[in-house]
């Protein structure tokens, strides 16, 4: 009925896709990540870390991405019998000028609290950033302890 286009979830296998276009989508990102983390067997603390990191990355898309639009794909993964969740955040530009600077703790040049990237990195086990004029992709992974 009232499923707004922005909040559409698409479950393919163990992957959940969430479109990010408005602040209401932050809730969708959080709920999707929490659900996947719970299914992957992550404890409450690790769930919260993953959700918080993902929420920050989604907020970054709303703040900085072209058209304040992007998407998240959350999927359960396994490595050597250990379960985890991988979340991929993508947008279509304009890209991050200086990734190293963006990863430094403190405050970003845009004047907003710059805890986004460095803080998120601290909360997850792995973070990988690919950026360019055509867009930025941030992949985070949280493993079950």
């Amino acid at each position: 009925m009232a499923s707004s286009a922005a909040g559409v979830r698409d479950q393919t296998g163990t992957a959940v896709a969430v479109a990010i276009a408005s602040e209401a989508d932050l809730i969708h990102v959080r709920q999707a990540l929490r659900a996947e983390a719970g299914r992957a067997g992550l404890g409450l603390v690790d769930q919260t870390k993953l959700v918080t990191a993902g929420s920050e990355l989604a907020l970054n898309i709303l703040r900085y991405a072209t058209g304040s639009r992007g998407r998240m794909l959350a999927e359960r993964i396994a490595d050597d019998g250990r379960g985890g969740v991988r979340a991929t955040f993508g947008d279509d530009g304009p890209g991050i000028d200086d990734v190293d600077a963006a990863l430094v703790d403190g405050f970003s040049t845009a004047g907003c609290a710059g805890i986004g990237l460095p803080g998120s990195r601290r909360l997850v086990d792995e973070m990988e950033i690919t950026t360019g004029g055509s867009g930025t992709t941030v992949v985070i992974v949280k493993w079950r302890r």
Binding site: A2, V45, V51
Partner: protein, 271 residues
């Protein structure tokens, strides 16, 4: 009518949204509480570990992979006379005499290569420049996924142990000298005195059967002289072995006192 049903639908959507937010808030709260509980547990564990390190009698310190000291306990302050504020932030080489630097390099390399802990007896330099012999055990500190994040060292002052070893060796040497003296005394008693005594007995027998009065007189004179020699030797031998026994007893007592003093000094060290 249509407006009412539209408003009703909007209300339902808003209620759904509020419900989602409420649930999200609840989940976030629970997560924060769990996170805080874990943080507090980690802090307590850290405080307990810090207390163990701080109260240890041994010197404990750690350094970064770049050999910069980054922790320093009370034992280290006592051993090196550097307060923590003066040691932390400075290179570990501050404490290492030049000739022992290659040895430290080798230890660190073994730890980098994956050995869990390495130990050796070596020398370190105090704040006043004096050297101190220490037993040192170093281990690699590794973070998540085995990444090397630094080295930890425990150093035990060997000065007391070495002094006790030297005192013990000296006492043993003294005891050996006295035992040898005792053996000599017994040898003189069992060998020389018995031989002289036997010679005296034979002379006595000869004197008894001799008919020559002058010869008898002479023999008895020699026998008396031999008796004097035997008495003299006996008193000397007795003196020698008695002195030996007394001295051994004295050394034993000194040993005992030394032991007690060391124990007291060790007690002082541990304060």
């Amino acid at each position: 009518m249509e407006a009412v049903s539209r408003a009703t639908a909007e209300l339902a959507t808003s209620r759904e949204e509020v419900d989602r937010l409420r649930r999200e808030l609840e989940d976030t709260n629970r997560g924060l509480i769990a996170l805080y509980a874990e943080l507090e547990m980690a802090r307590e564990a850290e405080a307990r570990l810090a207390a163990i390190v701080q109260s240890s009698d041994d010197a404990m310190c750690s350094m970064t992979t770049e050999r910069i000291l980054d922790s320093w306990n009370a034992g280290a302050e006592r051993l090196f006379s550097y307060p923590a504020g003066e040691a932390v932030g400075r290179p570990v080489d501050l404490l290492v005499p030049d000739e022992h630097r290659p040895e430290l390099d080798a230890m660190l390399e073994r730890l980098r290569d994956g050995e869990r802990a390495v130990s050796c007896d070596t020398w370190r330099r105090r704040r006043d420049g004096s050297l101190v012999e220490v037993a040192i055990t170093m281990s690699a500190m590794r973070g998540p996924r085995g990444r090397l994040i630094g080295y930890a060292a425990v150093l035990h002052d060997l000065t007391g142990r070495r002094r006790a070893e030297a005192d013990l060796a000296a006492a043993q040497a003294a005891r050996e000298v006295l035992a040898a003296r005792d053996r000599i005394a017994r040898g003189i008693h069992d060998g020389a005195i018995q031989a002289i005594f036997a010679a005296g007995m034979r002379l006595q027998a000869t004197a008894t059967i001799s008919r020559d009065a002058v010869m008898r007189e002479r023999l008895e004179g020699v026998i008396r002289q031999l008796d004097v020699v035997i008495a003299d030797l006996r008193s000397q031998v007795y003196g020698l072995s008695r002195a030996a026994r007394v001295e051994v007893a004295q050394v034993d007592q000194e040993d005992h006192q030394l032991d007690q003093r060391h124990r007291r000094e060790d007690g002082d060290d541990s304060r």
